[in-house]
Symmetry: C2
């Protein structure tokens, strides 16, 4: 059986993966959901035909969306996670005994149900007693929150379809309001390389800058995302992700991570000139 | 015309680019050489069906294979470049007025001729009066050199076909001998992500470590190479690429670079845990 999954990374670039078997295919009111078994990447979750995660490289995304903020402010106790239906972000957060409460708001219950069944690698910690799962629109959920969270993580899909609202000015403004005065916002920040992704990236940066006095971008290598060059945003009312990093304290926790370490924490904020220029353009 | 170039990044991963036109196709005694015109990446050079460079992202590779060493030791005067038939590495080196001599040894004259005709973006500085072009086997060329160069750059193809010899113990030993006592070796170091590339990467590191007291690896984002996560090796008899970086001095030169800057110089040596473990395994 010569079955291939193909994703369009730009109008004239395709990325294809050999598939052993389509394990699940379904649709919610929000999107199409598929689970594929592959040789190279293990199981893959796609939403509307775009890779969200693979078992082989999800550790990169999930390490970097959580540990950078947690190492910058080890006193984080209450976290809001928006999106992240696969559970990977929550899995990393539950490694911190100091976290007391994780509110996770995922618009699509079917994504969570499917991941619980097919992707225990990421979803198994969703049953942690500190986790409250809300199947709601993150955009609406955060509207009613004020001075409530130490950390908000926006683990969204791309800025079209169900994820669109999570890239708006209104949403970032409400995230700002939902955070305590020393709060941190981390968001999935698209990529600088292909034109359409770069446009989303610049727009997100511009909007976040409108609210947060400290607003940085850091980069990671995610081989199964378009171009492999992916960005996260770090915005804060108070914390500087480099100056406030207490590397010794984080290392003392003894957490096992496959990508993150305190050196790459610092290193990932050093961006190529062409990315810096795009971000400066976004002023 | 629906024409696509496809490259196999691993036995079950394919990367495809829409092609407007095949501008050149030929073969030397060493390899097949093709130039393709594409919309997304401009012109592309492939050797034996593998992408060597694209006009869109070659700046990343060429910035990072040259400026890290040059910023670490601004006194570099005499450079040996092995491979690099497209001319991009030489183009970056010729930006330094302080460099007096560049010996470039490319086994395949046809690559240089084709690049001069189709890829002036990279090849145009091969006529710089400081450049001596040798169409020879780099492996043999370096055998007769002793205490001669401040910098050796190995800008090779993958470790099979014509590039195979440039990953051997004998070759690295001869590079060591060819370098002055404060010499630096920079090499194309493959990738940590797909199994076959990672094996080459570990082997190269192990072999280089056998000769050089200082032996580091740094990473870059090259979207058109397998996984987009690529490595270079920095080995030296004397210089530490972080401690000996004089950022102020390099910035004073006022060179224009699209990827490299002195912050990413430092940042790129911070490696993910899974890559560090691979390199430690290679001991």
């Amino acid at each position: 059986m010569n079955l291939w999954y193909t994703e369009q990374h730009s109008p004239s670039v395709r990325f294809s993966i050999k598939v052993e078997e389509q394990l699940y295919s379904g649709a919610s009111e929000f999107q199409k959901i598929d689970i594929l078994q592959t040789t190279e990447f293990g199981k893959i979750l796609t939403l509307d035909g775009l890779i969200m995660l693979t078992e082989k490289d999800e550790f990169i995304y999930h390490d970097m969306i959580t540990h950078v903020a947690m190492a910058t402010n080890p006193k984080i106790k209450k976290v809001l996670v928006i999106g992240a239906g696969d559970g990977g972000t929550v899995r990393e957060l539950t490694k911190y005994e100091t976290i007391e409460q994780i509110d996770m708001v995922e618009i699509d219950k079917l994504v969570v149900d499917v991941c619980k069944e097919y992707l225990p690698q990421t979803a198994s910690k969703l049953t942690d007693p500190r986790v409250n799962l809300y199947y709601e629109d993150g955009l609406k959920f955060v509207r009613n929150k004020e001075n409530d969270y130490d950390l908000v993580i926006v683990d969204s899909t791309d800025p079209f379809g169900p994820g669109e609202g999570l890239f708006t000015k209104e949403f970032y403004g409400n995230c700002y309001k939902a955070l305590k005065e020393d709060g941190i916002l981390v968001n999935q920040h698209e990529s600088p390389f292909y034109a359409e992704d770069a446009l989303s990236m610049k727009r997100a940066h511009q909007r976040i800058k409108g609210f947060f006095p400290i607003c940085n971008v850091y980069q990671v290598h995610i081989p199964t995302y378009p171009s492999g060059h992916w960005l996260f945003g770090f915005a804060s009312k108070k914390f500087n992700p480099i100056q406030d990093l207490d590397a010794a304290a984080w290392n003392e926790l003894g957490l096992k991570t496959k990508y993150y370490n305190t050196a790459i924490h610092v290193g990932s904020f050093a961006l190529p000139n062409y990315v810096k220029e795009q971000l400066e353009d976004a002023k």
